[in-house]
Structures are given as C-alpha cells and as structure tokens.
C-alpha cells in the first residue's frame, strides 16, 4: 500500500497535499468562527467543480461551460431528500395539501410527483447524487464525442445544456421550486443541519470528500490515462491513429468531472441549506471555470486554492465595497489571467518552488555527482515529457 502511494505520488505532491490538509483541517478551523468556517465550506464545494475542470479542461482539453448543471443536479437531489423530510404533515399543516413540499402546494399540486417519490430514501438519494449527473453527462458526452464534436462547439453545447436546464427548472416550478429553488431545509435523518455543531461536522465531511476527489484526480493524472489525456489534448489524431478510442477516454473524464461537481453540489446544499437554479445557469458555470483558471488549470491543488481565493475575495470585496466590488473582482480575474496564464499554481511552480528547492538543496550539494548519476537516467523519460506545459495556445 505504502509503496503504491509512493509510486503514484512523488514526495513533492504528497507534501503539497499535506500542506493543504493542514490548512483545511487545522489552521482554518482553529482561526475562524463557525460562520466564516461555514463560508469556507461553501467555497470548498466549488473546488470540487474546479478539480473536475482541471481533469477535463486542463488535461483533457475539453472545455465545459456547463459544469453548473452537474453541481445543480447533485444539489437538487440532496435538497429534495431534505425537503421531503422537512415537509411532514405536521410541519405543513397550514397548506391546502399538508405533507408535500410548500412550493408544490403553492403551485396547486396535490400530490408528490412520481419521480420525486424515491427521494424519501437516503440510500437512493446518495446513489442518485452520483448516478443522475453521471448518466446525464454520459448521454451528453456520447452524443458529442462519438460524433467527434469538440473544442469550441462542445463548449457552446454545454452552455446550451446549462441554459436549457435552467429554463426547465424555472418553468416547472411546481416540481422544482422555480426561481426560488428548494429552501428551508432543516434536518437529515432527524439531525438538525442548521446548528453550529452540525456545521463543523459537515465542514469536515466536506474536506474529507474533497481529499477523496483530490486523490482520485491525482490517480487519474499520474496513471496511463492521464498521459493519454494530455496526448489527446495536444494531438488528438495521433492518439486515434495509434489505435486508441479517443471518445471513450473523453466520455470517461467528462463523466468523472460531472460526478465531482455533483458531490460538491450535494455538500453545498447540506452546508448552505438550500438549492436554487442560480447555480445551474451559464453565469455560475463560467464562474467555476474562472476559479479553475485562477488556480491554474493544470493543478488540482491549484484549483482548490483558486476557488478559495476567488470566493474569499468576493466576500471581502463585497463586504467592504457593496457597490463597487464587481469591478475589483473583474480586475482580479483579468490581472491573474493576463499576468499568470497558468494561474496561481503556475506562479508557485515557476517562481516560488525553485527558490525553496534551491534553499533546501544548497547544504546537500557536497556529493551531488553520485546521487545524480544514478537517478538521472530513470528520471529522464518522465521529465522530458512535461504535462504541465501545453505546447501551444488553445483557442
């Protein structure tokens, strides 16, 4: 087991993971009150989406501008389970039809529609959070990639999907809660998710799931699949001519990104206490791409930091300058993307890391020849192929 991990992850990658873990598990919970920590938990749910985008866009070269769809699907599945639990006949006695969610009552529905029935079961809900977005992503991806639709066309189609789903949710308000979304969620199996202690628990669950996704993403990147993804991004035809079924890999990575997003969405619902169509549309989907771009689209850890930083900035700016904060955000995006095309992770690996390495390596320089000569040949093939550097700019 240990050797497997060390095979998969270099020591540097593990150190970076450890630093992030220390930050999220120790530093932030100790230095923040629960209100702020809950906000961090919310930001982290976006980083699930950003990690998915690193795989799909950064490595696979598939730019999806509709990740909000999957975030929303996961969130809505969780929200409906919680809403059904909150809508007991006693709690909704004031309605014309007690026992159904309030928004259904407002829209003159008199019974729970059949497709929401299974969401009474927590087990089914957990399954649905993964399965619904995965199947939906599979349908979209098969339809597109099997026909070799890619690049800008694929991005446009994902936007259309986001727009369609938003219109569907808003239009079918009797079934979905419309513009208002699904609000006033209270308990999970009788456990009040609104209390401070529950928020601590949910935060740590969120961090744990995040690391699950991080490890899964790293595993994919460091595996042969990761290499193939980069190869596809750079020269799709060559990979195809080498006998690989390119579309199968694209479909897989797109579905994986969708599942990550959905987990984020479900955790969002739990921590924030509601879900609304404002996460499904085009604008939030593009915002999520920005988190990824600011963090660095080739680094899964960068994606986490990107989501955290952008949302921290958003909260801070908007609290300090309620009428001007959008300009500050715009400046931040433009500044980062212009100055550092590879995002924060790019700055780290090109500016900060070499200096740290230099600092640590200096004392050890006394016998460099022996160690270098043995390790160098083994390292060469891997190092000469550097997935962190896309060979040409992509439109």
């Amino acid at each position: 087991m240990n050797s497997m991990i060390s095979n998969l992850f270099s020591r540097y990658q593990l150190t970076h993971m450890l630093i992030l873990a220390l930050l999220l598990v120790v530093v932030l919970p100790l230095s923040m009150d629960i209100f702020r920590l809950n906000l961090v938990g919310k930001y982290l749910t976006y980083s699930f989406v950003a990690i998915g985008l690193v795989l799909c866009w950064g490595y696979g070269g598939i730019l999806s501008l509709g990740q909000g769809v999957f975030f929303g699907l996961g969130g809505y599945c969780m929200a409906m389970f919680l809403k059904l639990e909150a809508s007991t006949p006693e709690a909704t006695a004031i309605q014309s039809t007690p026992g159904i969610p309030d928004f259904m009552d407002w829209n003159q529905l008199t019974e729970l529609p059949w497709f929401w029935q299974p969401f009474h079961s927590f087990g089914f809900t957990l399954l649905a959070i993964i399965a619904v977005p995965a199947i939906f992503a599979l349908i979209v991806a098969v339809a597109m990639f099997k026909r070799r639709v890619g690049g800008v066309y694929f991005a446009i189609i994902t936007q259309a999907v986001a727009a369609i789903l938003t219109i569907l949710i808003i239009g079918q308000q009797g079934f979905t809660g419309g513009v208002n979304g699904i609000t006033d969620l209270r308990t999970l199996h009788g456990w009040d998710i609104r209390t401070d202690s529950a928020k601590y628990v949910l935060y740590f669950v969120c961090v744990a799931l995040l690391f699950g996704c991080l490890f899964a993403a790293k595993y994919v990147i460091n595996s042969k699949l990761g290499r193939l993804l980069v190869a596809m991004r750079e020269r799709e035809d060559r990979v195809r001519f080498s006998g690989y079924d390119v579309s199968a890999f694209k479909i897989f990575i797109f579905c994986l990104a969708a599942v990550f997003s959905a987990i984020g969405g479900a955790m969002f619902t739990l921590q924030v206490g509601f879900m609304s169509p404002s996460f499904v549309g085009i604008v939030p989907s593009i915002e999520m791409v920005i988190f990824c771009a600011v963090g660095g689209r080739l680094s899964v850890l960068g994606a986490v930091y990107g989501a955290l930083l952008v949302n921290f900035a958003k909260t801070t700016f908007s609290e300090s300058f309620p009428e001007l904060w959008l300009f500050a955000m715009g400046a931040l995006f433009i500044g980062v993307v212009m100055a550092f095309p590879n995002g924060l992770a790019g700055v780290w690996s090109s500016q900060v890391e070499p200096r740290i390495k230099a600092l640590f390596n200096k004392p050890g320089r006394t016998t460099p020849a022996a160690t270098n000569s043995t390790s160098a040949p083994a390292a060469t093939p891997a190092e000469s192929f550097n997935p962190e550097e896309p060979s040409h700019a992509r439109g």
Binding site: I170, V179, N180, G181, T183, S276, S278, P322
Partner: protein, 419 residues
Amino acid sequence: MILKSRHYDSPKGARRSFLRKMLAIPAALALAHASLPALADDANTTGLAVTKDTVKVGILHSVTGTMAISETGSVQAEKLAIEQINAMGGVLGRKIEYIQEDGASDWPTFAEKAKKLLVNDKTAAVFGCWTSASRKAVLPVFEQYNGMLYYPTFYEGLEQSPNVIYTGQEATQQIIEGIDWVVKNKGAKKFFLLGSDYIWPRTSNKIARKHIEKLGLSVVGEEYYPLGHTQFNSVINKIKLKKPDVVYAIVVGGSNVAFYKQLKAAGIDMTKEHPLVFTISVTEDEILGIGGENIEGAYAAMKYFQSLPNDNNKAFVDAFKAKYGNDIVIGDVTQAAYLGPWLWKAAVEKAGSFDIDKVRAASPGIELTTAPEGYVRIHENHHLWSKTRIGRAKADGQYEVVYESKDLIEPNPFPAGYQ
C-alpha cells in the same frame, strides 16, 4: 542620603506605577464592561450591536446584477429614513449606523449576507430583500438566528414569519379592491389574465380568478411567460380574438417594456379603455423603462403613488428629491421600504428595548401617522393595514390617483376560499 534613596526608589516606584497601570487597565475595562450593560441592560439583553449611543442595523438589497435597478430605490428610501431618524435624535437616544451588504441579485448571496449581518455584525434589524426568491432564501436564516427583517415588496402572501414585518401589500389587499372597482365603475365582465411565470403572478392571478368567478363574471384566458420574455405578439393576438373587457397584466421586470410597446404597436390604444389594461406590477420605476407614452391610460392598483396628494407625501417626495435629485421617481416599493426604519423605531420605543423578542411583541398595533401613504398599522400577522389606490398612467410617467379605498384593508396572507 535623600538623593540616594530617591535614586533607589524611583525605578521601584516606576515599576509599581507601571504595575498599577497594568492592573488599572483591566479594572477600567471591567468597569466599563460592567457599566455598559448596566446602562443598556433593558435595551439590549441579547448582545446585539447596541452601544450607549449607537445601534447597528443592516441594509440588504441588490446593488449589482439584474435586480439593482429595482432595489436601488429601496436602498435610497431606507437610508433617507435612517438619516431623518438620526436627525431627530435616533432611537432610544442611539444614532442608527447601517451596514450595507449587496445581495448581488443572487439568492444564495442574500442568505450568506443575511447570516453575516445577524451572526457577525449582530444587527438589531435588517431592512432588505425585494424578490420573493431572496426572501425565501434568507427566511430560514432570520428564523434560526432570531433576527428581524423589514420586507418592502408587494408579494403573493402565503407566508407569515415571526421574524419578518411585511411593509408592502400582500396579494389580496392589492387585487380584490382593484377588481371590485373595475367591475363597478367600468362595467367589466370578461377578464384576460396574464403574467410572468413565477409564484407571485401565478398566486395573484389565482386570487383574481377566484374573485372574478365569485362575482359571477368570466375569465376568458390565462397565460404565463418566462421572466425576461419579450415576444408578446401571440398573446396580443389572443387578446384581440377573445375581446376581454379587462386585460389583467402581472408582467414583471424588463418584459414590461416589450409588453406595453407591443400592445401599443398592435393598435390597442389604452386610453380608449377597450380593452382596459389593468396591472398590479407597474410602478413609476417601471414606467421609466416602458416610457409614459407607451402605457398612458393603463390602470394600476397599489397602495402608493408618487402623486398622492397629502402633506406627508409632499414632505417625503421633497426630502427624497433634495437628497437624490429632481428627476428621481418614487414607486410603491420605495415608499414601503421607507416605512421600515420608522416602524422599527416605533416598535423599539414602545418596547423600550432593542431585543428582537420584545420588538416583535410590541410590533402589532404600531401605527404610523406620518407615512407618505397616509396611515398604516401593523396587524397581528405582521403585515400592514393599508389603503389601496387606483391610478391611471399619464404620459409623463406619473399616475393620476382616481380612487382610494374608504377604509384600511386588512391584510390576509392566507385567504380562505382563494387558495
């Protein structure tokens, strides 16, 4: 010797006085702490952001995003009211300081900011929200952390929270009086209902339909269009075919501009009142976008119009224009937002305390004789008793008030027989 002893003494003395100072600081702090609650004891027992001479409140509206255009008026009105209250000496001798947060036209942001205002800033009251969606998003937050929200917009009803005071009208107040008037005075028999597709227009039209049918009259059509819809030609054709006496329109936001322009372009002259166009969703703010000449002759039922001829309103409009410029228009919601701080002040003073529970207990029965709309009183159900007026749109973008209900209309958020 003396010199020497002094020489010995001084560092010791210095140290002692330093020590004494060190001791004195916490002592003074403790005293200050002890004295503050002693002074503020009754006024604030739950740790709200109230000091001896200030009290913090929150303003939570969208000042960015699509809703900014609608909500800006409310922000301005709330700030004006706070400024006027402070000029009069504040509330219980404390000046109001406001913390403004931006909901950014995004419901989750509203929830986040509401929580910040309650948990972090411990504000004694929050004036805010506009759309029902934003209110629904913050409602659980206000109920969980026991805050008090003053909500200004006319809305669909079906809600009554102990943590919200609804300063706008709920649907029955706006609708029933209006329909009665148009039936009685214009002899209307056939109605065509239409609206934007979300909960407020749908619930409002449901109430309208039930009332129309109760009166033994008929609804010849009911149509909904998504928010932001701009192609109303098909519904205008349907209106022409069905020949209703009244087109009852609850279109909101930007769609209004398209709807009224296309109605006019299709040859329906609203000033001829055949069909008569009746709305509950177009205030003076919306007319700015629609253009007065495009809606001239339409009727609206609301509780407030800028042109209301009374002294309170004149003073209010003058103060508003003095602060924000002569060209500004004031709609129904803006006026309702202006009531928020005043109603809160009255309740706090009646309770003698900023405590939310005491303010809540004191709220029912609070009356405001200085309201620009005339007179309002808080009902046990946290909505306002208010009059309903009917205005006729003029080409200059103002309404001419043609009718005012004789009595205050009781708010009834859960109307029996209308659900």
